[in-house]
Amino acid sequence: MKKTLLFFLFLLLACPLLSMNVTLEGKGGFFIPPTSACKRSMAVGRSMEGSSHGVSTRSWISMQMRCFLAKSGKSLGERRSTHIRILPVGIGLKGSLPFDPFEIYVAASTKHFTVKIHNNSPYVDQHQEKNGWGWGAKIGVSFFFANHFLLDLFLEYMRKEFSFSHSKKVESRKEVDIGGGVIGGALGYRF
């Protein structure tokens, strides 16, 4: 995990050296879990929350580092609190079509997912953590409203299936799709 983050950090820092335009964005989004159980269990809980920030180039190479995607909810049945946090870090290709002051773009990337789940029940595994590689696709539009500032609206889909093993004698699900969709917006600064 640390090596992956260091790798991406290295690439981001290398962007200016590669004469790429770097955009720094603060993002907020609405995370939609993909699996039925995940979606249902989260749907009965508090409203979704999610935030991210990242750095992307203006060229065909896109790198993103999100702080996290997170959601809290209640289990279906006993309504015990449950939380999921996902840290997806990706690198991929990005194509953009400028319509000044707008810019439409599409991107596809491979992503490294780190997932942490906390379930507030003594009868299931309370802490679960997994990481692995998946993929993501994104479409969005940026609006440049000042010299370097931009407003970004995007729709992103990510996919990664994990098999969770459980220490308790609890009924578990295999191949849980832990990615999902994000509808969000961002305020950025392009250097």
């Binding site: 015990r80 449950t82 009868y123 299931v124 699900r173």
Partner: protein
């Protein structure tokens, strides 16, 4: 005093049999030391010794098991004992020479015979005060209460009568003439018939409790004394002091079906196991207890105990008989499986009578259902069991939930003060689960199990 002892010992036997007490703690009156010895029947050790009034004769325990009342014949009082702490919490003044004490099934009132006053005191158990004193016949000997708790019957030794008391009004309904020297009364479990032994007329009087009329007189052996009725109500057994026999009365025909010769002299006190399979009787003259098989009406064993065996008391599981031995200050413990004495417990001076606390009743209205608790990657399948507390008897302090009928695999425990619900987590789908729930009282006494399966 020997005469009094004779009376009180026999009375206690009948109270035990009439109320079908189930045991876990045995309260022994020690007439000579003015104490109560409390025996833990699980370990057969004395758990406590309680100082009460002079000449304690008999102990009666409330249906909820929380309080014991002791008639102190020599101090004209009734001691109130908290069974949780085994301490005296109150002393109630009653009439002269209180001997026999019985508590109504609802646990609200106790009735005490005042032998020298020819009266019965009614005690309100909520306030521990005497609320009425009811005049009865001459030399009241024994008192028992019908299973519905509406009527009390008192034998009057020297007036050859039975006084019938209306418990609602604490007044005499009627006085019935019976045989000479009436001793004990036993009432059938369905409450329809009362049987009275008449020692000097060698008969048993049959009383219809609905009409309060004597409907028959059954000739038995010489000097009938004690009487007990089997739990199915079909047979009454009577000890005949001077003919060394036990008469078995068919309650359907009110006739003696068999007369059983016993090996000892003067069979006096008897008790029937709660399962109805065996009669145990003690003798006045010898240090033995005899076991009679109720299916064959044959003597199966004669067991040597201590000198002057008195009132027998039997555990609710029918596995153990306790016999106080008045002349050597011990209690003999008989294993009914082998009919051998397995322990001898030292108690106070002149142990007279034993009363054993009841076990709680099992819970009822069991219900079960399945539910799920779904998380993103896991599902907890839960079996939920609910039940209701027993509606009568001792109040349980908690419930134990087992997974097997042998009650060896404990799944959990639920305090009686909490919601009566048990959740069994992480169960498998498409699997049948069975649960066995027992009530447990303050002293660790367990009820039989109530079971439920969830599929």
């Amino acid at each position: 005093m020997k005469f009094l002892q004779w009376i009180t010992l026999t009375c206690t036997v009948l109270i035990v049999s009439c109320t079908s007490l189930f045991c876990n703690m045995a309260y022994v009156t020690n007439e000579g030391s003015n104490t109560i010895s409390v025996i833990n029947t699980a370990t057969n050790t004395v758990a406590a010794t309680i100082i009460v009034g002079a000449t304690p004769i008999i102990v009666a325990i409330t249906p909820d098991g929380k309080t014991a009342y002791v008639a102190n014949g020599g101090s004209n009082t009734v001691s109130v004992i908290n069974t949780a702490t085994n301490t005296v919490t109150a002393t109630i003044g009653v009439g002269s020479n209180p001997t026999i004490l019985a508590i109504t099934p609802d646990g609200k009132t106790a009735y005490v015979i005042n032998r020298n006053d020819n009266s019965v005191s009614a005690i309100n158990l909520a306030t521990n005060t005497v609320t009425a004193t009811i005049g009865v016949g001459v030399s009241p000997f024994f008192l028992t209460i019908t299973p519905d708790g509406k009527t009390a019957y008192v034998t009057n030794e020297d007036s050859n009568t039975v006084s019938v008391i209306n418990i609602a009004t604490n007044t005499i309904i009627t006085t019935l003439a019976v045989g000479t020297l009436p001793r004990f009364i036993a009432i059938t479990p369905n409450g329809t018939t009362a049987y009275v032994t008449n020692e000097n007329s060698n008969t048993v009087s049959v009383i219809n409790t609905a009409t309060n009329l004597v409907t028959a007189s059954i000739g038995v052996g010489i000097k009938p004394f004690d009487i007990a009725i089997t739990p199915d109500g079909k047979t009454a057994y009577v000890t005949n002091l001077d003919s060394d026999t036990v008469s078995a009365i068919n309650t359907a025909t009110n006739s003696v079906s068999v007369t059983i010769g016993v090996s000892g002299s003067r069979p006096k006190l008897l008790e029937i196991t709660p399962d109805g399979k065996t009669v145990y009787l003690a003798y006045e003259d010898i240090s033995f207890v005899t076991a009679i098989n109720t299916a064959t009406n044959l003597v199966t064993d004669t067991i040597e105990v201590g000198p002057a065996p008195a009132v027998l008391a039997i555990t609710p599981d029918s596995k153990t008989v306790y016999v106080p031995n008045s002349d050597n200050n011990t209690v003999s413990v008989i294993d009914t499986a082998t009919n051998r004495v397995v322990a001898t417990i030292g108690v106070g001076s002149q142990p007279l009578a034993i009363t054993i606390t009841s076990n709680p009743q099992p819970p009822h209205s069991l219900a079960g259902k399945k539910k799920k608790d779904i998380f993103a990657t896991q599902t907890d399948r839960i079996n939920v069991i609910t039940w209701s507390a027993p509606s009568e008897g001792i109040s349980p302090v908690r419930y134990k939930i087992y997974r097997d009928a042998a009650l060896t695999n404990l799944a959990g425990m639920v305090s009686a003060s909490n919601a009566l619900k048990f959740e069994d987590h992480n169960r498998k789908n498409h699997t049948v689960y069975s649960y066995y729930i027992v009530s447990e009282d303050l002293n660790g006494g367990l009820s039989t199990a109530a079971s439920i399966s969830i599929s």
